[in-house]
């Protein structure tokens, strides 16, 4: 456990340092998101007004929109971070070092992703606060009701991330695959089948559904049943384990072909 603690600590430190050292990139990213968001925000608002939607409904749509957006960012990081991490380290010549540990490569990469997700979450919340401050439109969002299902569910996406990462180890250029998967993921967080079984089997879908229902139905994380939590956790675990399995197989193939670290 202590090992993982130190691993997490240095991962976070590296993330923060790199954000700081690539200041320009960080700030321009924030600015772009801010501007994009403001445009959509005001667009949505005037669009609603022109349709004669009352400001009250408007608020709800906005909340849904913002939560959707937030979910989207988290998922984007969770599914692609491991693959990008591998590509990045392979090109920097540090991937070999990551393998020189008695902590598994998969664990190192997952811990890295979690640290990345944490930073991304903090950024998003920070951004949201700024947006609400500048628009003067304070949304009623129960942060915990969103974060808890995300936290439980995100491991399914990390599982997918591990699969992509495994492929990146072997094939190096997986950009187009990542792009395609991105579209599947959009569908996963935007459509919710009625059947609990189907929804529970699709990665992250049930968790995303729960988040939206808290948004729309005004309930909170306390209102989910044990079954709800069970489905979310089971789904997450299932995909995570499949991801680990695929990843470890890919590591083996890469080691046999002498591809680890070659770029």
């Amino acid at each position: 456990m202590k090992k993982i603690y130190y691993l997490f600590k240095v991962s976070l430190e590296k993330n923060v340092k790199e954000l700081y050292r690539y200041k320009f990139n960080t700030i321009s990213n924030l600015l772009i998101f801010y501007i994009l968001f403001m445009v959509m925000f005001s667009g949505l608002k005037s669009f609603g007004m022109s349709l004669g939607v009352s400001p009250l409904d408007m608020g709800e749509n906005l909340e849904g929109f913002i939560v959707g957006y937030f979910l989207w960012t988290i998922i984007m990081v969770a599914y692609s971070d491991i693959a990008f991490s591998i590509i990045d380290d392979a090109s920097k010549g540090t991937l070999e070092q990551l393998n020189m540990s008695n902590i598994n490569l998969s664990q190192i990469l997952v811990v890295r992703s979690i640290s990345n997700l944490l930073i991304e979450t903090i950024f998003s919340i920070f951004l949201l606060l700024i947006i609400m401050e500048t628009t003067g439109h304070w949304l009623e969002i129960n942060v915990l009701s969103i974060l808890i299902p995300i936290f439980i569910g995100v491991f399914s996406i990390l599982g997918i991330g591990l699969m992509c990462g495994g492929l990146a180890l072997i094939f190096k250029r997986v950009q187009s695959l990542l792009n395609i998967i991105q579209y599947f993921l959009i569908v996963l967080v935007a459509t919710f089948p009625r059947s609990r079984i189907i929804s529970g089997l699709l990665p992250f879908n049930y968790a995303a559904g729960s988040i939206f229902s808290t948004m729309m139905g005004g309930c909170s994380f306390r209102d989910f049943s044990a079954l709800d939590y069970g489905i979310m956790a089971g789904n997450s675990l299932l995909y995570f384990i499949i991801g680990l399995f695929v990843f470890n197989k890919c590591v083996k193939v890469a080691k046999c072909r002498g591809l680890l670290g070659q770029y």
């Binding site: 090992k3 130190y6 070999e96 020189m100 902590i103 002498g258 680890l260 670290g261």
Partner: protein, 307 residues
């Protein structure tokens, strides 16, 4: 105690035999060099030991245990210019690579300070690696292999692509490690002088096979006894040359016959040769063993001129 044991290791890529049935071992606390021309399998061997490449056959033991379970004993520096995060400082890099192995805390911090001090990097410890000279980067990379205090260190071409000064610096760093840290080191290189100066044993690879394997000293001795150079006071006459040629030794007449070179297999033979010269009243000005440096030995071996 054997720190590293490589037994009948082979690795093929398709039809290419990158490493072909090699065996060698390194005792704890010793330093061994792997020499070989480009593509001879040095990197493949090192990566097999680190479990970055799974071999087709053969086994590798680290302190008697399978290498897959022995990562905590090994650190390595791989070929190429990187090995570090360029946007982090030396201190952050060392901390990061310790963290990757699940190490951290005060003890590691102190160790990092010590290492940076030792390698004269203290005043650069907060400069991004990006902005360091190539030689300094390599020093940081070597410090990185020491930060976890593993028994075994593998270095793949640690002096490749360095300028003269950095080369000297790195060599000093390596000598310092060898003399005062009691590590077991395996290093691959093209640089004969480095091997001659710091390695005790050497394994010479060519096309994936071991072509020579001995202590550096023994290899040098082996080749030193090969060639003697006999300088004469005056040139040999044609008759004398003929006479000598019929003695059954490998004589080479150089400098218009004022110098004889002879390859012998036993040291005693030199006395017989001197006696023969005395019989013909050929006067000797000087006799010496021809200097053999490692480079020549290496070329001889890898060209297959000498079996």
């Amino acid at each position: 105690m054997e720190a590293i044991e490589v037994n009948e290791l082979s690795k093929y890529y398709g039809n290419l035999k990158a490493v072909d049935d090699i065996s060698f071992s390194i005792k704890k606390g010793e330093i061994c060099g792997i020499l070989g021309p480009n593509g001879s399998g040095k990197t493949t061997t090192i990566k097999c030991i680190c479990n970055l490449i799974i071999p087709d056959s053969g086994e590798i033991k680290i302190f008697g245990e399978d290498n897959k379970k022995s990562m905590e004993y090994i650190s390595a520096l791989f070929e190429g210019t990187r090995n570090l995060y360029w946007k982090l400082t030396p201190r952050e890099n060392l901390r990061y690579f310790a963290g990757i192995r699940g190490l951290g805390g005060k003890k590691v911090e102190r160790h990092i300070d010590e290492l940076l001090d030792r390698f004269n990097l203290s005043d650069k410890k907060d400069t991004m690696v990006n902005n360091l000279s190539r030689g300094m980067q390599q020093k940081v990379a070597i410090a990185m292999t020491l930060v976890c205090d593993t028994e075994i260190i593998l270095l793949d071409e640690p002096t490749l692509g360095l300028d003269v000064q950095s080369h000297i610096d790195i060599k000093e760093v390596l000598m310092d490690i060898v003399s005062s840290m009691n590590k077991t080191i395996l290093l691959s290189t093209h640089d004969m002088n480095l091997v001659q100066d710091i390695c005790k044993d050497v394994v010479i690879l060519n096309k994936g096979k071991i072509v020579a394997q001995d202590s550096v000293g023994a290899l040098m001795d082996m080749f030193r006894s090969m060639t003697y150079e006999i300088v004469l006071t005056e040139s040999l006459s044609k008759d004398d040359e003929k006479y000598l040629s019929n003695l059954g030794y490998d004589f080479y007449f150089v400098n218009n016959g004022t110098k004889i070179e002879v390859d012998i297999s036993e040291v005693n033979e030199i006395y017989a040769i001197i006696d023969s010269l005395r019989e013909k009243s050929i006067f000797i000005k000087e006799i010496k063993q021809k200097d053999n440096n490692f480079e020549r030995i290496f070329l001889n071996i890898t060209n297959g001129e000498v079996e």
